[in-house]
Subunit: 312 residues, 2 copies
């Protein structure tokens, strides 16, 4: 039925295109208790790249004894075929990690902080301010090597220990991260507790002083609200959205934080809305299917399980 041409309604508004940042190989796989071979991991990432995901977070340079699933990040990077237009990014927690990242030829790193002292204390033993000082040092060094730097701002809406987070505190951390030289900040709903009005309130406050192309959103689908929060973000002009293939993962340090937003579910909604991503949804789905085989279990993405609706 030829009704796709007038897909855009009068109400709502949304950007024409969105950049989807794939975090599954890092934020997803870091929580896996099952083992996965490096061959399976590389095949998974190669398929995601083939699907056209422009930024893929492939691993992290954390202590192998703390996060054994990420111990092979150097080797993963070595095996990945470089592709034009695809950025492989790695999370870097400290100077030692940055050295490993540089040695591995990484061109984009991510650093991690949060808006809640209770959260940074529980995870790193630092206050937010101490965490920011560490970020500044890292970013200084990374920028000298011309690395792109993304700043994850965890607990941007809710803290697993303290509950709702004051948006003014989030704004302060966001300002500092940009001031340090982050190209982009990803606002993370670490425990998957935010609802659309909370999302709007924070974004309105930030967008009053930060261009939309410097801000991304990172929602967890713990309570089912991730895509509604994406919709609220789109309406405010956000064009960078994180997701995890298959809905893999969560946050090992945040109680109850299961379920990253699934890349498939995000792409299905965006494409249904006529928003261009440049990503092949079928190939993402087949990436997740590869990983399901490797892990020996089903992944929670609803689209992955349901598949496309019949088009007649």
């Amino acid at each position: 039925m030829p009704i796709d041409a007038d897909l855009i309604p009068a109400s709502g508004r949304a950007p024409a295109g969105v950049r989807v940042v794939e975090v599954g190989p890092r934020d997803g796989l870091q929580d896996e208790t099952g083992s996965i071979t490096i061959e399976a991991k590389v095949a998974f990432i190669e398929r995601l790249a083939e699907a056209g995901l422009p930024t893929i977070e492939v691993g992290s340079f954390v202590r192998p004894d703390l996060v054994p699933q990420m111990a092979d990040t150097e080797e993963v990077l070595r095996r990945l075929r470089p592709r034009d237009g695809i950025t492989y990014m790695a999370l870097v927690p400290n100077r030692r990690g940055l050295e490993r990242a540089l040695a591995g030829g990484v061109r984009a790193i991510a650093v991690l902080t949060a808006a809640s002292d209770a959260f940074t204390r529980a995870n790193t033993g630092m206050t937010v301010d101490e965490s920011l000082r560490k970020c500044r040092d890292l970013i200084d060094h990374a920028r000298r090597s011309d690395l792109l730097v993304r700043g994850y701002l965890s607990t941007a809406w809710w803290c697993p220990y303290d509950g709702p987070v004051d948006p003014r505190g989030v704004r302060r951390v966001a300002r500092e991260l940009l001031d340090m030289g982050c190209q982009e900040i990803s606002l993370a709903d670490t425990v998957g507790a935010a609802t659309p009005n909370e999302v709007r309130r924070l974004l309105e406050m930030l967008l009053a002083e930060i261009p939309a192309d410097r801000l991304g959103v990172h929602f967890h689908d713990t309570r089912g609200t991730a895509l509604a929060n994406v919709l609220a973000s789109l309406e405010l002009g956000i064009t960078t959205i994180d997701a995890s293939a298959g809905g893999l993962g969560g946050c090992p340090f945040a109680p109850g934080a299961l379920g990253n937003l699934a890349t498939e579910d995000l792409l299905y909604m965006l494409h249904g809305m006529g928003i261009v991503t440049g990503v092949d949804l079928d190939l993402v789905r087949s990436s997740s299917a590869l990983l399901e085989t490797a892990l020996g279990r089903r992944l929670p993405s609803r689209y992955l399980q349901a598949g496309p609706p019949r088009r007649g």
Copy 2:
């Protein structure tokens, strides 16, 4: 942290209150292959009523040999304690069913049609027009007995056989149902394929001539878009939203139509947005937990599994 007071952002808009129509005991349980005792079913519905859900679809008067899970609807109604402000509704497919509903003392019924000939043919052997004639006859009789009548308009966005559905066809069916005397129409995304712009486009077309309080929306979360579609509907002023406790059920006649929107996930989002429903989310969650015990399996609602975020 005292930030709830200014929850409402400048962007987006939403009604102050929403009426949640609980369809789990009918639309959910009709698909159950496991057996459930009438005691468990009644306890489930009583708990939902206690939670304050203002309209509960408790069963259907269909042929017991076709839908054995609904064979006990008379007995369920007999056992339910009447409560002020709570409407127990039953689905009625034909005159025989209507007689049973009237004998059972039901005050509200639902009738079922669709916007797609392929769908009505597959389920009932009728075209949409034939189905509408049957509805007209049923509604005529029901209105003579002063019953409230809700009209389900299935395949309002997608048909499991024909793909995308032309909104003009949906408008025609909606007009006819209202003209026949339906107090309310529930627009159903039967296969869970709609995305927010499709939702907006249809609602904009309908709301140009139908008051918002005559229209409800009924989303399936098959591909994860249900709550985003709810958000788009709220922004257009829709105040009646169907949901199923625990995310129970789907549609037995629609391939791939698993997963009603979960009542818990809906309430979590609405309450987080400051929208009043009059429903106690904890009690709905405990209703679903009762049912999980009775069915011996987990239900898919994300909030049901995750629980409330810690508030500090």
